[in-house]
Subunit: 768 residues, 2 copies
Amino acid sequence: MSEHAVVGKGVPRVDALEKVTGAAKYGADINFPGMLHARIFRSTEVHAKILSIDTSEAEKLPGVHAIITQDDIPTGRAVFAKEKVLYYGEPLGAVAATDPDIAEEAAELVKVEYEPLPVVQDVMESIKPDAPHLLNDRTKDGPRRRVITRQLKKLSKETGEDNSAEIERLNAELGGLDDEIYYNVAGETHESAGDVEQGFAESDVVVEGTYTIPRVHQVYMEPHVSVAQAEPSGKLTVWASTQGHFAIRSGIAGVLGIPLSDINVVGVTMGGGFGGRFNIQATHVPAVILSQKTGRPVKAQLNREEEFLDGRPGAGCVIKLKTGVMDDGTIVARKALAFWDCGSVAGGPIANTIRIRGVYKFPHLQMDAYAVHTNKSGTTSYRAPGAPQAIFAAESQLDEIATIIGMDPVDLRMKNMREEGDQVPAGATEPIVGYKETLKAAADAVDWWNREKGPNQGWGVAVGDWTNGCGPGAVYVSVHEDGSVRLFHGSMDITGTDTAMAQIAAEVLTVPYEQVSITRGDTNSAPYNTGSGGSVVTFTMGNTAKLAAEDARGRLLELAAQRLNTDIEHVELRDGKVSLTNGDAPKSLSLGELAAYSLSTTGGPIVGKGSLSGRLSAPAVAVQIAKVEVNPETGNTKVLRTVASQDVGFAINPIAVEGQIEGGVVQGYAWSMMEEMQYDEKGNVNPGFVDYRVPTTADIPRIESVIVEVPAPNGPYGAKGVGEPSLTPTLATFANAVTDATGVRINDLPIKPEKIVNALKSNGNGSR
Amino acid sequence: MSEHAVVGKGVPRVDALEKVTGAAKYGADINFPGMLHARIFRSTEVHAKILSIDTSEAEKLPGVHAIITQDDIPTGRAVFAKEKVLYYGEPLGAVAATDPDIAEEAAELVKVEYEPLPVVQDVMESIKPDAPHLLNDRTKDGPRRRVITRQLKKLSKETGEDNSAEIERLNAELGGLDDEIYYNVAGETHESAGDVEQGFAESDVVVEGTYTIPRVHQVYMEPHVSVAQAEPSGKLTVWASTQGHFAIRSGIAGVLGIPLSDINVVGVTMGGGFGGRFNIQATHVPAVILSQKTGRPVKAQLNREEEFLDGRPGAGCVIKLKTGVMDDGTIVARKALAFWDCGSVAGGPIANTIRIRGVYKFPHLQMDAYAVHTNKSGTTSYRAPGAPQAIFAAESQLDEIATIIGMDPVDLRMKNMREEGDQVPAGATEPIVGYKETLKAAADAVDWWNREKGPNQGWGVAVGDWTNGCGPGAVYVSVHEDGSVRLFHGSMDITGTDTAMAQIAAEVLTVPYEQVSITRGDTNSAPYNTGSGGSVVTFTMGNTAKLAAEDARGRLLELAAQRLNTDIEHVELRDGKVSLTNGDAPKSLSLGELAAYSLSTTGGPIVGKGSLSGRLSAPAVAVQIAKVEVNPETGNTKVLRTVASQDVGFAINPIAVEGQIEGGVVQGYAWSMMEEMQYDEKGNVNPGFVDYRVPTTADIPRIESVIVEVPAPNGPYGAKGVGEPSLTPTLATFANAVTDATGVRINDLPIKPEKIVNALKSNGNGSR
């Protein structure tokens, strides 16, 4: 029995009706009279010097209003390629014309002369000394490891002398670095605990493997789009489909070199994001500059091919992983060397390589991770960035170990799991966690220790973990004369977060959920808000909604006490009414009556505010178990059953939580089985849904979600962020199940039918 | 020397640039793809029964999407005439079509059959027993005085008997009522103090007069306009040019019978209001219903002729005024009987007939005021509603008395003016007031007691008074990472109120005015706000802006103390920076630094709130002195000089205050000299600027504004509402000056050249 009336209940989403009726306004639905349409013209080379860009023919085309290139960027910050292109499809400039067809035609009339350069597409090739140096002429650091460069620079400054002799010494001094020198490195992270080499020496069994995870696209349904309007005053309005309109505001302010207060970003309904919708270059900045040039509203919108060529997908990587255990299953040491393919833009989730530690006790741990340039577009976040990749390697290897030492994979995991108060390797102490409960819940759901399988069938289990972030945000609550309650805030709704906030306000103010509505403000009206990524929203904004509703409740109680001629401690809010606590008088005042009364008192309209920046969250864990069947002739796999348990702290809206779990699992299977962005010397060769396969409902089994609730001490009603964890274990779960079914282990995702057939062939075995 | 840095200084308005560049978006600028255009079809009779409305021909016109009549109003509340029309131009329904011309053509195709009824256009005719009874079939009260009706009803209920015999007795009992029975009365107000008949008996001199003031239009530059969009969910968005979008929201909710939370009203830039822009029937409701019927956005917009025929202008009236004084100028008693022409809709500023008491001590006062129906459109507020009319009568008569008793008109006024602590006749006790200071300031400005005049020249003085209201409102303040400050609120900017709020926030937060910006929210996002009328805005919202900025300042100080490792009492905010008060450490943190820091602390983004409903204001007074020259041959008048002094409490933005004074004086001269809506049996006969004369710059002298500052105890920095007082004395000032120049007194506005010539003729005198 829940102690709560609204939170913890499955309610329809606040935006359900507008979504299902098609009334919701997405970026593409924003249109203004006189609006121009932008088209970006792009590199047709993968790696080349730009010799010239000639827009003269394009300018002559009737209907063309403006053409911009990098020279039009006031701060010179990189928006378009100017001297060199680094990937096929890299933006060179943009055209604004009266209709999209004219813009496209004009873009094709732009003539670019190139001098081709050698291409590198593979991270393991790119780190070699003989690889083409991709950003040699763009960054001063050159192709060597940045840490060394920084040290050398410092030394040069101090001594003024040649310091080549110091390289060796410094290289030796830099603890935790691999011995090799890697080229084309854009960034690096190192973490360690204990002494990993000593750990391996003490281990009974040491297992090594190399895991390859492809670059995948977030495949949000709505391509990037924006509409910009520059005013004569210099003020800008941008209608942006984004996960964070305040981030877009500061991004545009930075590129344009203008104050934040000159820019108003209106966040429109978002057609999916998954981490990929914080980008300002794709459409926002081109639309803004073209609007400034023309004085007209300008819409910039990518098509699906452009999304693949120039979107910022999730990074692929190669992880070399080594784990040492005792014969009884006690994990002793783990070492990871990871190379993340960040394409042409420094970045990538290298720090999250740390997820290789999972939820286990490791006395010894070492992680060295590098972001490596290749001739591809940049990357960005994709749902729990880095974790599915790292956990694929970690949990695949742990399964291999279970097989080697002859231990049940669930038992092996349970034995090593951390508990409250345990030391997190290279981290802090565990707070209250639900790792074991969640693993047990999944195992119980499938009756794991009595599981059965037929021929060519197998079971897989994996454990993924994640912690939600918490960013700055604020909420205002108003209570209106008809008793309705409205929340106002600046957070982009991401699959149900607005609904959770409305539930929380309804709970605090003791009114039906239907009585609460919620409005998102643009950056000119709403208080600052962090972006809707990193599973922050319900945790952060749920808390601020609670604070704001409590602030409004305080005011309601105060007002009622005044109205009922009593003290505030003698009144209580229940069922949407404030009554006397002593109960002997039947007097009560509804929210609507109090709101109406507030308009004629000195205290003013009933408004509550809640503001919050940082609160420590608690770790969330997701455990998945799958049963698969593999056809050894065709290599086709079928997921017969899948159970996904997740510690969500507290499920504010169980329907939405299940939706999040299901969504993550679906994306996980897609990545496991079929999704990969493919590249050759011509660039991305599968930029569309014909060649880039995404699953259909026929590919995905029914997902059995199991909600585990180990409350987060700082979460609203104990809630944790639920958006990301469910994707983290799926890749490994599927791989482990396929291995259990076939006896072969494939460490190179996606596990496509041909890979299974080939592996079985080389294993000399068609079935098990 | 001002103690303030930003308030009290003349600054350019926050919206100056967008206004002068034409970038500001007014109602007419709101357009959406697929938008339909509405046209209202109207009565071509002045008073008639509606026999039938046939829309069949109109419906057939290609491009017509919907036609609505009163039958489409879900609650049945009166929007369109159904059984009877009461004035020429009364709305009967509306058409939505793909373009405005088609809509107009369709409106003309609607066939209406009428049965004409007798017409009454003059209040003094309408109150007579033989006048047509205009709302006989619409209200149950019938044409008799409501008070009597109510009493009779009560009696009938109690006794169940015929009570006609009681009428006489009740009529006698109803204290303060005039002896007559008036017909077509829509409402009445009565106020009294002392015993007025006794007062007249004691007076040395008693003067009587009848004053006639015409109905005038507010003549805002922008006619009524709205765009409505009904969503499939039942939600509505209305883009409204209005003085109060929250009022429009509740008005629409009432007519449609739907909850407030289903309606979002976006207040767009307003092209003038002057009290006339709170109306929901003119365009908002027709646009909404047509959008609901068609599912498309619908724009409804009046043209200038429709504004005159069906706008809600300021009411005209006839005031019978009687004043008794002693020979030494001491005022003893005053009695007013006023009939306000409210047209077809009950209303009118009858209660403000009380302004006949002015700023003077009256031992005996009586006021009986009636709203009377005529065959005209309804009326509504116009800048200090009722006051210019009542003060015209009162101050004209006072001037006449000055002449009769041979006393200087300024001396007579000064002698009788109330001071702090004096009893307001039929009112409370005067708080601190600046009546005498303001009269003296105007007199000094023209060196009154040494004033000179040539032939056909004259001087006039009059005193008008007003008190601003205070309504509910709230403001949020955000401080951003670049140090900029933003206010967010739900108040419609009315000639500089946003600017005053920005100044106040800048003052409190010690930043330059330019660093503050201000955003108005729609009703879905902003906290509740009262309408921008009754001079409430700067008083109310200035106070809330101050509270909100102070709230944000508190948070800044708290954060700075935390950051500087000290207590809050050891830090201070100065010049946009928080520093240590002890001064010996040079540490300081700018607003931008603190805002950035706030995003990473538990306290969250810096947001301040201020909420307020009722605060008592202080009376404001406006004194005007004019010197005019009259051409006795043509009757043409020329204002040679005009001085306008006004007690504004504190001038937050002196430029804006002077603008308000000048605007009121211009409207006052227009009403005095030329403006009047003219009616005959065909209805309003001057519905356009050819026949309804408004002044040009050639008609108006330079206005010398004198700002007097007697602080209002509850005003922000002492400010009082400044928008309305300046119109209140102008009518009487002009009339008094003309009398001084010509020797004839004209009590029937406007004082047009022909009236002067005729008066001089009947006076047997061509010049003085």
